[in-house]
Amino acid sequence: MAVGESWGRYPRVKQSVYSLAWRNEVSLPEDQLLLPYGMGRSYGDSCLNDGERILLTSGLNKFIEFDGETGVVHCEAGVTLEMLLDFGLPRGWFLPVTPGTKYVSVGGAIANDVHGKNHHCAGTFGCHVRSFELLRSNGERLICSPEENTEMFSATIGGMGLTGLILWVELQLKPVEGPMIDLQSIQFGSLDEFFQLSSESDQDFEYTVSWIDCIASGASLGRGIFMRGNHSKVKGPLKQNSLLKRIATVPFDAPGFLLNRHTMGAFNTVYYHKQRQKKVSSTVHYDPFFYPLDAVHHWNRIYGRKGFLQFQCVVPKDSDNEAMKAVFDQVVRSGSASFLAVMKEFGNVASPGMMSFPREGITLCLDFPLQGDETLRLMKRLDDMVFDFDGAMYPAKDATMAPEHFRSYYPQWEEFSQYVDPRFSSSFWRRVMKETD
């Protein structure tokens, strides 16, 4: 067995590995419980299978067909979003929904029903999946779509890889004029200003997201930069080929002291003041707009050997947004948040996924460098608050949520578990299915 870790590098597990390469001759090993593993960009333990086996899907990376009229692409589950962008853009097609990294597989995007900056108008990734083929451990191959094997279709979208192995996918791409984005960046000084900006922007802007300072307190509490954009008609290069992009890699683990509240506070202050005016309009390439962190390979190493915990919750929107304010306040008071904090308002577009995370409300997402039990206690406090506010936590980014909370965030789990393949499992699934008193 080999050591395995997710993008957050916590927890570390021992698991066996099995590589897949040809969709026509996939045979599943029978000795251990299985879990498909794409690019390993989930943060916690949902892409790990401690003591059991993962199925590497990176070899399942072939295209099958593309319809240039309708923009439907048919490809294997290990094809990455980066490959789809490289393929689609020269032909005038873009991803219908994209998360904050392009280094994820299509299968992984379905298994976590990922969302992006256009959730308020486009819904989740799963909303754009036309069909896929699912291989079950009993050898059955099921074509799943909104018309065929509908329950399995719904259970697999957001199903965390537990319903079987996705072999191929048919995905609807969206037409665009080019690779550029018309962007407006607006400074805001408080959470109330953020909520105000968010509700007035959702109508006219396809993409909205905010960076928010989780360290500044006092008069600067809740400051941040609101970014809103639309696909541009301006022509631009298909690829951004900067030298920096090719060489920027974090080559080894950073020493633990590098990130502390002083360095992170300084970073946040500089970032907030990088624009002089309150509102700046520009036309930018899609790559830095959607994937700012992809420019630095292995950025997860800056947190050092111990790794980090990512926290992403959604809480319902109400008139005063008390819930998000309380969660945010707790994060700021902990003093241990990092500089990668993102806030966004989810819309009400329903996903076909049974276990999808996104739901109407406000979502907050950030990293906490792992500093022992103190960080774990903070995660528990936040989990308790999200639970009390009837919110939910995101399995793809979780390593700590309480089993009973999971079952309350996802009350449909019992129905879902009927569709879980008896020979598939994950560290996450075993953790949240553990009986508690």
Binding site: S19, W22, R23, N24, G59, E65
Partner: protein, 245 residues
């Protein structure tokens, strides 16, 4: 547009190189043993933009079939202007030591059959006065080591064969490229634990495409293997023979 024949097309490295040609609208002929895998690749390469993709099922090891194989290739893709030879077996060093017939089979697959195919294509290209011959050998052929010297012998012999051929054809307009990959993460090495020196098949495939475009003679992929092998080749034999690397 370029017309390329790929022998051992189902290897992960050959597939990635083929994708580079496909994106630029090349015509491709894929030759390998497994017809179903070839169909999977055919769809992929057509989708990516190849002008035309054909397949031919054939076991390349058998030298006596090579003449008819090349005749078929010429009929399927007339006037093809490049070949990429990408098949090989890593073999079991231990078995080859115990039983020479296993080693002999390794030599047949990795050296003799490759030399036979290349010879015939070289003569054809020489008569025409143009063409490109790209062959995947290995860094393992640069120095014999106890962990894989059977494989290394075959690949080393192939590298020397290509060196001589390049010398012979240097004034004819026929280009001969020797490709020496280091550790590559492919189904061939699926059983080996991956270290930091492992490169992706995609990176190596793209490197092959670039080396063919730039008409290089010998290319190490990724590039740093040239320096690793320089050091390994420089170690004095009295010392080297006692090392385990």
């Amino acid at each position: 547009m370029k017309k390329v024949v790929l022998f051992g097309a189902t290897s992960a490295i050959a597939h990635e190189a083929a994708r580079c040609f496909a994106r630029r609208g090349a015509e491709l002929l894929l030759v390998a043993r497994n017809g179903e895998k070839l169909s999977v690749l055919q769809k992929d390469l057509e989708t990516l933009g190849a002008a035309k993709v054909q397949t031919h099922v054939c076991d390349l090891v058998d030298i006596k079939d090579h003449e008819s194989l090349l005749k078929t290739c010429g009929e399927l893709l007339p006037e093809y202007d490049a070949i990429l030879l990408a098949y090989g077996t890593l073999g079991d060093q231990g078995e080859s030591e115990k039983d020479f017939s296993v080693a002999e089979q390794e030599f047949r697959t990795n050296f003799l059959s490759a030399a036979s195919l290349v010879s015939r294509v070289a003569n054809m290209f020489e008569a025409r006065g143009s063409g490109q011959i790209a062959v995947i050998t290995s860094v393992a052929g640069d120095r014999g080591r106890k962990s894989n010297y059977i494989y290394g012998t075959a690949k080393g012999a192939l590298s020397i064969f290509l060196q001589g051929l390049r010398n012979r054809l240097s004034s004819t307009g026929v280009h001969v490229l020797t490709i020496k990959p280091g550790f590559v993460d492919t189904p061939m090495t699926a059983h080996i634990e991956k270290g930091p020196l492992f490169a992706s098949a995609q990176a190596v495939g793209e490197g092959i495409y670039r080396a063919m475009e730039r008409k290089k003679d010998v290319v190490y992929l990724p590039w740093f293997w040239r320096f690793i092998m320089l050091i390994i080749k420089a170690i004095p034999e009295p010392l080297f023979k006692r090392m385990s690397i």
